[in-house]
């Protein structure tokens, strides 16, 4: 009996030691594959080892922080603790998440928007907000009139806001009725000025009780399969504006939604729990098979989107390459996602004038909360880009900043905060630049008129190339597509990893494997008629003759 007890204690002691030591070994070896945490985290640098830092306790603090951020199984222990908080207390450890009724989750800004508080996050008071929205609406109309000249349609699409569609699941809070709701204001004023706008919020509110499933995800921030309907509406709306015939979307074989659970549960995912909460029948979502219906007259437009993450779901749910010939997406974090592969570029690397002029439609695509931020500077930049040359803009801006920096009254105003003249001028300069970016009309008289007539000379160059004949043969065109696809693959680490495995399996070089994959992708697109061929300067026959 005693020996059984001793064996038990020995086994338990070994188990305890293993549990205690595992995180230590995992920290250095990473032998177990642990699901990473969702969300954005600041990387903690390794401690700066020096005797002075050690004496002052700086190194110890850095080390503790570093260890806390990097020990083995960290993700798992955090998930365990979060699950404990969630299961026992319905408490989450994520910033900006609000727990609603019946297990619904919301982001704080959606709740604030519904209760009339969101405006204060972006504008100090209603007067400032009113002036900002009015200026934006004025500039949007100017931009629309300019783009219209070139056959480009500029429209606004507002994605449904979950808090407005299912407000009964929000926690009870008091309304602030003194503020301006940006979405409602834009819808009202843009409609009055004749600007094309489609607000899905109202449509979803009407649709929710007749739909056979919950049209907004209870655990997600964005939308679910219902976005497919929204895209169909958008396409019909676009058709109405231009008379183009665009693709139709047919949905069949409805079933319980199982794909894209990460999308439909993105708030829950951000809570980093061990397991997903079950969603009852009442809030279950559905999905179906999608078929894109096109005829020979169907046009696949090039669309430039300016908007937020609601667009990502559309790209997840729909084969957008069958609907559009090309898409670009100016995201609000000064990021540009190019093409269907969503290759990420910093915004400053993008030739936005070219992107605009190449587009058939420019769609300002956002939800109600984003409307407070206006257009993230897109409209202001586009107006300047379209009407003024870069050199002129730089010259004028420099002159403007220079005159302000040497204005005695301005210099005096900043003297207290910036006693050093050099620093003061620098500060005034950068503040003035920021002001000019948000209000270009104040600097450029050309933009102050209701319909600006000044044009950037580059537009003509871009337009010349827009409809130009491809200089080369069909084979060369396909080859250029393959090269572009290869380039795309090199920029996609996940896909590249897959190809690496294939290369290893086939015993070929990675370069060759990438090339093979690119050829396959392009051929597949050609077979599916996803590629529109331009006119070629060299036909295959001529090329052969030349040879």
């Amino acid at each position: 009996m005693k020996s059984v007890k001793n064996i038990s204690f020995t086994i338990i002691f070994i188990i305890l030691m293993v549990i205690l030591c595992l995180p230590f070994f995992q920290s250095f070896t990473n032998i177990f594959n642990i699901k990473p945490l969702s969300g954005q985290f600041d990387e903690v640098p390794a401690p700066e080892v020096s005797f002075e830092n050690y004496r002052q306790g700086i190194m110890q603090k850095q080390l503790e922080k570093y260890i806390s951020e990097n020990y083995g199984f960290r993700e798992w222990t955090i998930r365990c603790y979060n699950q404990y908080l969630w299961d026992f207390f319905k408490k989450e450890n994520v910033e900006h998440v609000v727990i609603g009724k019946d297990g619904w989750l919301f982001y704080q800004h959606h709740v604030d928007d519904y209760y009339g508080r969101e405006m204060f996050r972006w504008q100090e008071n209603t007067d400032i907000a009113y002036n900002k929205y009015e200026r934006e609406i004025r500039m949007m109309n100017k931009l629309r009139s300019i783009l219209h000249e070139y056959g480009i349609e500029f429209l606004m699409f507002i994605a449904p806001d979950k808090a407005f569609v299912y407000p009964e699941y929000l926690p009870e809070q008091t309304y602030d009725t003194t503020t301006i709701n940006a979405r409602k204001y834009y819808v009202k004023r843009l409609t009055e000025t004749g600007f094309p706008i489609i607000d899905m919020t109202e449509w979803f509110i009407q649709m929710r009780d007749t739909a056979s499933f919950c049209i907004m995800p209870s655990k997600g921030a964005h939308w679910n399969f219902s976005c497919v309907y929204a895209v169909d509406s958008l396409l019909r709306f676009m058709e109405g504006l231009t008379g183009d015939e665009l693709a139709h979307i047919k949905i069949s074989n409805w079933r319980k939604a199982t794909h894209f659970q990460n999308v439909e549960r993105d708030i829950e995912e951000s809570m980093n729990l061990l397991r997903r909460d079950p969603i009852g029948k009442k809030f279950a979502t559905k999905e179906g098979d999608i078929e894109i219906i096109r005829t020979s007259k169907t046009k696949r437009p090039n669309v430039l989107f300016v908007g937020n993450s609601y667009l990502f779901q559309i790209q997840d749910y729909l084969p957008t390459e069958k609907i559009f010939s090309q898409i670009g997406h100016q995201y609000y974090h000064n990021i540009f996602y190019d093409g269907f592969g969503r290759i990420e570029y910093p915004l400053e690397e993008i030739d936005m004038l070219k992107k605009i002029m190449e587009a058939d439609y420019v769609v300002f695509f956002l939800d109600g909360c984003q409307a407070y931020k206006t257009s993230y500077g897109f409209v202001e930049n586009a107006l300047q880009n379209l009407c003024l040359s870069k050199e002129y803009r730089e010259q004028r801006r420099a002159f403007y900043v220079d005159s302000i920096c040497h204005d005695d009254a301005t210099l005096k105003r900043y003297a207290k905060d910036f006693p050093d003249m050099q620093e003061r001028i620098q500060h005034i300069g950068s503040e003035t630049y920021a002001q000019m970016d948000s209000d270009p009309e104040s600097v450029f008289s050309e933009l102050r008129v209701p319909f600006p007539t000044a044009r950037n000379p580059r537009i003509q160059d871009i337009l010349q190339h827009k409809n130009e004949i491809f200089q080369g043969s069909r084979e060369q065109f396909i080859d250029s597509l393959v090269k572009a696809t290869e380039e795309e693959i090199w920029h996609k680490p996940d896909l590249l990893n897959e190809i690496k495995k294939k290369a290893k399996a086939k015993s070929i070089s990675l370069k060759q494997a990438v090339r093979d994959d690119a050829v396959w992708i392009v051929n597949d697109k050609i077979n599916k008629e996803l590629i529109t061929f331009p006119q070629f300067s060299i036909t295959t026959q001529t090329k052969k003759n030349e040879k």
Binding site: K5, P23, I67, F89, K91
Partner: protein, 471 residues
């Protein structure tokens, strides 16, 4: 480094345990000593040499004392050793306080302030000073033999499980175990369980209560509602108990894993039926120290009644002052001393008459008021807090979530569980030194869950105060 930190739990502790258990018996003490010095040097690089220096000096003074035949010489050396230890404590812990007050007095007489460079407080000085005093006095009283080896003495003082926050271990309690101890597998397992229970008391209970208590004590006392003031006081009462007793459990558990038997520091103090009883159950090792090394030498209750009260007052003022160099700690000590004297005068008789539960509740109420003195700094804020507590006023409140309320209720249940027989049974089962095989396996599941949750909590929240760390 505190026990409730990821660096300790996931790096220091596993490395230490592997090194310790793999060391041959004859070098186990050296392994423990080296890790203890690393532990201290990590948190207090400037004081490690001071600590070792003080240990060496004190060791040789006491050694000389123990060998001395002459009583006068013995007394002189004993005094020298105590003065050395207390002198260091007075300088490092109280110099700033004395200078601040002296300058305040000078300011009242419009005299210029005296210049003074702030003195940094070495971590754990209050604890290791008391331990070195117990060693000196015990050897002087011949209660125990002087340590035969310097390394053993240093180990007694710097042993990391009890170095920073106690329990205050008397030398004779561990003298034998330092030289020769047995660490069975059962000791290791049960010790680890005790450690994890302490860790979860600290991290999963005390830290949650601390957040609420801190938020409430950060409010304007005059403007907060009476209900909020009561919640704040009760939350702090529970926080300090689970914080400190949790740390003691961790220390006792770590010691047990190595074969040491450290004395218990808490025995359900909130179920005490008088303030005298409270001090038999709260920070027991400090109470024992004060009794053995201050109250009895002052004469205890062997002289006149008045002298006994004076002795008690001195002991509790010192006890309060030991907790921190601030007036509120002195007030707290005086407050408890006052109730101890009341106990001697008539209170114990009254409490006996009213029965166990009412006397327990009354004692708990007095203890709670005492914690307000302990927590709030400054006489005027203390007065404001008491006014709000008994003002029955509305005012500022803070919203507290289900997590707080659940943990708060759990803390109260755990604090008073042993009032009932089944509670006592549960406690005996969990805190037993010997476990049945079945119970060991069941406990393993709980302990692993508690350990993972504690590490998760430490990672998720940066909030991890430890009240007794600064003492």
């Amino acid at each position: 480094m505190v026990f409730s930190s990821n660096i300790f739990l996931l790096f220091f502790l596993p490395i230490f345990l592997i090194a310790y258990f793999l060391s041959p018996k004859r070098i186990k003490n050296y392994t423990l000593l080296i890790f203890s010095l690393i532990f201290y040097a990590y948190g207090a690089p400037d004081f490690i040499l001071f600590l070792i220096g003080e240990c060496i000096l004190n060791y040789f003074i006491v050694k000389l004392m123990s060998k001395s035949e002459k009583t006068v010489r013995k007394k002189l050396l004993c005094t020298l050793s105590i003065v050395l230890s207390l002198g260091m404590l007075l300088y490092f812990k109280y110099a700033n306080f004395f200078m601040e007050n002296l300058n305040a007095v000078l300011g009242c007489f419009h005299r210029p302030e005296l210049g003074w460079a702030e003195v940094a407080l070495p971590i754990g000085i209050s604890f290791f000073t008391f331990q070195s005093i117990t060693y000196t006095i015990d050897v002087y009283r011949k209660t125990t033999e002087a340590s035969p080896k310097l390394s053993n003495y240093i180990l007694y003082i710097v042993m990391f499980p009890q170095l920073i926050a106690g329990p205050i271990v008397r030398y004779n309690t561990v003298a034998e175990e330092i030289q020769n101890r047995e660490s069975t597998m059962e000791n290791r397992v049960v010790g680890f369980y005790r450690f994890v229970i302490g860790l979860s008391k600290k991290v999963l209970i005390a830290n949650v209560l601390a957040q609420a208590a801190d938020s409430i004590f950060a409010l304007e006392y005059g403007n907060m509602s009476t209900a909020t003031a009561w919640i704040g006081m009760l939350a702090y009462t529970m926080q300090i108990y689970f914080d400190f007793s949790g740390y003691s459990d961790m220390a006792i558990g770590l010691g047990m894993m190595m074969g040491f038997h450290f004395p218990e520091n808490f025995m359900n103090p909130y179920t005490s039926t008088s303030i005298s009883d409270f001090w038999r159950n709260w920070h027991i090792t400090l109470g024992t120290f004060m009794k053995e090394y201050l109250y009895i030498p002052l004469g205890g209750n062997r002289k006149s009644v008045v002298r006994t009260y004076i002795n008690l007052a001195i002991v509790f003022l010192c006890s309060g002052f030991w907790h921190g160099a601030a007036w509120n700690f002195i007030l707290w000590g005086a407050f408890h001393g006052f109730f101890i004297i009341l106990d001697r005068l008539f209170m114990l008789n009254i409490l006996k008459k009213i029965g166990r539960i009412p006397s327990m509740l009354l004692t708990f109420f007095v203890v709670n008021l005492g914690w307000v003195l302990f927590r709030v700094e400054g006489v005027s804020p203390i007065a404001d807090y008491f006014t709000t507590l008994f003002g029955f006023q509305g005012g500022e409140t803070i919203s507290l979530d289900a997590h707080f309320w659940f943990i708060f209720a759990l803390a109260i249940v755990f604090s008073f569980l042993t009032v009932f027989k089944f509670g006592q049974k549960i406690q005996d089962l969990i805190f037993a030194e010997h476990y049945t095989t079945k119970r060991t396996w069941i406990m393993l599941v709980f302990v692993v869950i508690l350990f993972i949750l504690s590490v998760g909590a430490l990672t998720v929240t940066d909030f991890n105060p430890f009240i007794y760390f600064r003492f």
